[in-house]
Symmetry: C2
Subunit: 284 residues, 2 copies
């Protein structure tokens, strides 16, 4: 069953991520880093580990690559939550780092987690293709930062974003890291990741549409973060542009596209298909 | 002459760094990144390029590795200058990023520059040892963040730091990145970087003592940043702990140690020796 497998992968990656943080010297900063990497669905980790299994990558390498992308994701959340950015005080059901510690600590936690991600990925244990993994993750992390800057710029722009603009923005902000996760297994195996790109592109977009739907229909209790933020901020989202029903239909179509893109992999890709179906059915 | 060679290396690394930033999509964020990477002495770049020349590393690889470490250094300055951190409005004689743009942009500029550094270093053009360079730079960047956290913690501690504690703090905050720079050439060549570690350790400490002396004796005009900050904040520094004269003597001894550590390299290491002498004679 998908939820059990997702939980199992989440436990594996959490253990690896905690061990990596705990390998750094004891300090208040380390406590805050541990807090920042805890919780979450670990969807990116799931994509890495299940994608890697399709290419018979050793499990330890897959889990370590998954820990790297979750470290990048966690750093981005800590920085996005800062008062100067989205100013959120709740994340994954817990107080955000700048609330529980302070802003300076939150900046440093994010910075340290980004370094840790590349440290994990460049480890000799990661095999002969580790530099390619670093280069592609660095590009995805750069795109993510650009997407966040585009998102902030949109909030103060005179005209709301068009559907094309919001699609580009989200492809940067969340799509690039999701795509990297789906492609990481192929890269670890030294195989061409291109066949997974169609899957990942459709999945990333479906994920963001589902996020916009959750911001309208979800509860803070289940999502572990503040909801209704987008409408409050008057932000253009897939829901505001398409309407709720059309957004749901579009997300469903994208999941179908994502699944279809994996046709050549047959049964081996069943976990990735389940992940695609999950992103639009999740409640958090 | 050393100043001319330093300038020449600075121009080479600045050109590479600008090109790397300009290869990202045009955006307000990119303008701010260009601002953040401009100026500076480029001492770390000098150490990388001259260190690499000792091992006959191709110049293009050396300059690109130098651009990577300067990107990390620039990111750290942008984040350190934030209001929640050191709250500085002047850097390299120019307004800081959060002053000229805003805090959110400054956070994202730093984040993007860290990603860019690893992107540059993991580039296939960097040769067969690029993953080792990434792993070692990621560790140095992690140490730098810890050093900054230790520095902030020291400001609010009940008792001032001891000489041992401040030495550890600075070895993390500035020493690790300087050491990486000195060792990068050996790593690029696949040689053991250990012989350069004694040089780099002594150099890094001399550099920080000189920084503390400049904070007392320097001018904002020449340093391009606010001076007198440490005394104002009642911070323990090498100068407050040792006294000005003993601090100068100690820096001189460390430079001698750094030069002696290069004895086996003979004439080839003359540039690195000149760099060591420079760090305690500089006015900025």
């Amino acid at each position: 069953m998908f939820p059990e497998l997702l939980n199992h992968r989440a436990e594996q990656v959490s253990a690896r991520l905690n061990a990596a943080v705990l390998a750094t010297p004891p300090h208040r900063l380390r406590d805050a880093m541990l807090h920042a990497v805890s919780g979450g669905k670990r969807l990116r980790a799931f994509l890495v580990i299940e994608g890697a299994a399709m290419f018979d990558v050793p499990a330890a390498q897959a889990v370590q690559a998954a820990a790297a992308v979750e470290a990048i994701h966690a750093y981005s959340l800590v920085h996005d939550d800062l008062p100067a950015m989205d100013d959120d005080d709740l994340r994954r059901g817990q107080p955000t780092v700048h609330v529980k510690w302070d802003e300076a600590t939150a900046v440093l936690v994010g910075d340290g987690l980004q370094s840790l991600a590349f440290d994990l990925l460049a480890d000799p244990a990661m095999g002969p293709h580790r530099a390619d993994l670093v280069a592609s993750l660095a590009k995805a992390a750069g795109a993510m930062v650009l997407g966040q800057a585009q998102d902030i710029a949109a909030e103060t722009a005179d005209t709301p974003l068009t559907l094309d603009q919001i699609t580009t923005l989200q492809a940067n902000k969340t799509g690039a890291l999701i795509a990297w996760s789906a492609e990481a297994g192929a890269r670890l195996a030294g195989e061409d990741p291109a066949p997974l790109t169609s899957y990942a592109t459709a999945l990333g977009l479906a994920f963001q549409i589902a996020d916009d739907i959750l911001d309208v229909e979800g509860s803070a209790d289940k999502t572990g973060k503040r909801v209704g933020k987008d409408a409050e901020a008057g932000k253009a989202t897939f829901v505001s542009l398409l309407g709720l029903d059309a957004a749901k239909n579009r997300a469903g179509e994208l999941v179908q596209q994502a699944c279809d893109a994996l046709a050549n992999y047959g049964e081996r890709a069943e976990s990735l298909r389940a992940a695609a179906r999950f992103v639009i059915s999740r409640e958090s």
